[in-house]
């Protein structure tokens, strides 16, 4: 309330203020003013923890005692730890299995939902978004029961219908990854669908109508109208879901539990374990820094590719 008030108060007198500043300066000042809350809050709650992490990356610290400077030792440990590389490849696999289909199916569903012919739109929209309403913890519990490794686990029952043997979802190399990716996929498809839908609804109907008059096929409409106009939104979802996938944490934590089995360990789970289970905050911070660099590289490639494809 307070914030709203001050803003409206600022807004009220301003028209009367005689403009001693040029329009351009005023625009700049407003620009800085409007983005300042983020940077102020971030400086307090984000920057300090980050700087602290960077500092810790070069220290040996168990969270309780004294710190000790160790140079690049922590980085050496992490980069020579097979488990770190395992966690990295796991993360990349789950990114591919969980995220890419999520974006493609999200676009298809959004397009279907947006087509004018569909009745009960609201029902479908609500249903498809519903998984996002469910908390990660609940998702992990329910899917944990479905992905029971015994013969009577739901997914094993379904596999049984097709004559496939029961899979030990909790411990096998691909079982764990598929189970975790499924949770991620299920929870986030609706989210991406609704983001795309909001984007699609911003596209003026006249464009499609004009295209139909020109005799365009559905494919052409998608290719020449939908995708180009949706480009900013596509880049947004590619970018955020990639980051989300590379920071995958809660689902594997709950699904594989505190055993941190290597089939399902992700980079963030790896660094969380280093810090809070093994009390090695130095290596954990080093791992965080390495992950940060990897995310920057992958996101940049991602955005470049997405830019090119949708251009």
């Amino acid at each position: 309330m307070a914030r709203m008030n001050t803003e409206t108060q600022v807004q009220m007198p301003s028209p009367k203020k005689k403009s001693s500043l040029s329009e351009k300066t005023k625009e700049s000042l407003s620009g800085y003013l409007y983005i300042s809350p983020f940077f102020i809050l971030f400086a307090i709650f984000g920057l300090f923890p980050i700087l602290f992490s960077f500092y810790l990356g070069f220290q040996k610290w168990n969270g309780l005692g004294e710190m000790e400077f160790v140079g690049f030792q922590n980085f050496k440990w992490i980069l020579t730890d097979p488990l770190f590389w395992k966690s990295l490849t796991n993360t990349l696999y789950m990114w591919v299995i969980g995220t890419i289909p999520q974006l493609i199916i999200g676009i298809i569903l959004a397009y279907a939902l947006n087509s004018a012919l569909i009745k009960a739109k609201s029902f479908f929209r609500v249903s498809i978004f519903m998984p996002y309403v469910t908390s990660t913890v609940a998702v992990a519990i329910v899917f944990g029961i479905m992905f029971n490794s015994q013969d009577f686990g739901l997914f094993n029952v379904i596999l049984g219908w097709f004559g496939v043997d029961a899979v030990s979802w909790g411990t096998s190399e691909w079982g764990v990854k598929i189970a975790i990716s499924t949770m991620v996929f299920w929870r986030w498809v609706g989210y991406n669908t609704i983001i795309y839908l909001a984007g699609l609804q911003g596209i003026p109907k006249e464009l499609y109508e004009a295209a139909i008059i020109d005799g365009a096929t559905i494919r052409q409409k998608i290719q020449y109208i939908t995708i180009p106009l949706l480009r900013p939104i596509i880049i947004l979802t590619v970018f955020t879901s990639t980051i989300g996938a590379l920071q995958l944490f809660t689902e594997p934590l709950i699904f594989i539990g505190r055993t941190y089995r290597e089939e399902g360990i992700t980079v963030v789970l790896y660094l969380y374990r280093e810090a809070f289970a093994n009390l090695a905050f130095g290596p954990a911070s080093a791992a965080a820094i390495i992950l940060f660099i990897i995310i920057i590289v992958i996101s940049s490639i991602n955005v470049l590719v997405a830019n090119r494809i949708s251009r």
């Binding site: 969270g63 998984p131 519990i141």
Partner: protein, 282 residues
């Protein structure tokens, strides 16, 4: 609308296809939730048996009574409502304002600052737990809902989202015209941008509200007194180390999801309303 006129066989097939696709998607989306409800109404032994229960049982009241006796369910729901609502409103305002500035204003270092915001998203947050915790204790916000709300206002995605949406949906001409009419920058934002970006508001509101409601790790660290628990933290109290009463756990989880569904339906209505209005206007 004109598409309906051109109705023919080919369209019916694609229409049927769309219905089948959406129905499958809807079923797959709803089934786990339905199953959650089934387990919330069954006794623990029915859940753990072979094959597991597929129909609602008669333990709805018993399970929920157990939940209410174990944790302060309604107090925690109230806390979650407060935290989620305040954060959402704050984020909508701050992010749309910043997104508007990034989309429509010219100022030095704009691109650099925007990229800086994106980069902040790339830092794995789990490691900053201890320094963040130290800050919260210095502010004396332990067991205080502000410990969730204020850091929650930092939303790089929200700014990104608003900027993308505003840049493709708010025409530059409108902004320039308003300026020529002598509108202040804030007025341009408030009168020109805000009405156009209502769908983006609704989407971001839903997403942010759900996110804060379901947030788990951070509240677990900074809220330690029962009276300050959000629902996700309170639900943790249902998981006993020794005995897992899944009926009770899922009952708590299910009923903690219901308020969200209601809020989503309400926001969804606003969302749709704003869309149809937009259609009529154009």
């Amino acid at each position: 609308m004109s598409e309906t006129i051109k109705h023919n066989n080919r369209f019916s097939i694609s229409k049927a296809f769309v219905y089948v696709l959406l129905s499958i998607a809807a079923f797959l989306s709803i089934f786990p939730l339905y199953w959650m409800f089934v387990m919330a109404t069954n006794h623990n032994s029915a859940i753990n048996s072979v094959p597991p229960a597929f129909l609602p049982g008669g333990e709805l009241v018993t399970n929920f009574t157990n939940v209410v006796n174990t944790i302060d369910f309604f107090g925690a729901i109230w806390n979650s409502l407060i935290v989620s609502a305040v954060t959402t409103v704050g984020v909508l305002f701050l992010c749309s304002l910043a997104g508007f500035a990034f989309a429509k204003f010219h100022f030095k270092g704009k691109n650099f600052l925007f990229i800086a915001i994106l980069v902040t998203m790339m830092i794995p947050p789990q490691l900053g737990l201890i320094p963040q915790y130290i800050i919260i204790t210095k502010l004396d916000w332990l067991n205080d809902l502000r410990a969730i709300i204020v850091p929650g206002l930092i939303d790089a995605f929200g700014i990104f989202w608003m900027r993308q949406y505003i840049s493709s949906n708010v025409p530059d001409e409108l902004v320039d015209a308003a300026r020529i009419d002598g509108c202040t920058n804030f007025r341009v934002y408030w009168n020109i941008a805000v009405p156009v970006i209502i769908p983006a508001f609704a989407t971001l509101a839903i997403i942010k509200f759900m996110y804060i409601w379901n947030d788990f790790l951070w509240p677990l660290v900074v809220l330690r007194e029962d009276s300050s628990f959000t629902i996700q933290v309170a639900l943790r109290g249902l998981i006993d180390n020794y005995v897992r009463d899944n009926g009770m756990i899922l009952s708590g989880t299910f009923w903690a999801t219901v308020p969200l569904i209601i809020i989503f339906l309400l926001l969804n209505r606003l969302f749709i309303a704003s869309l149809t209005e937009g259609a009529v206007k154009s």
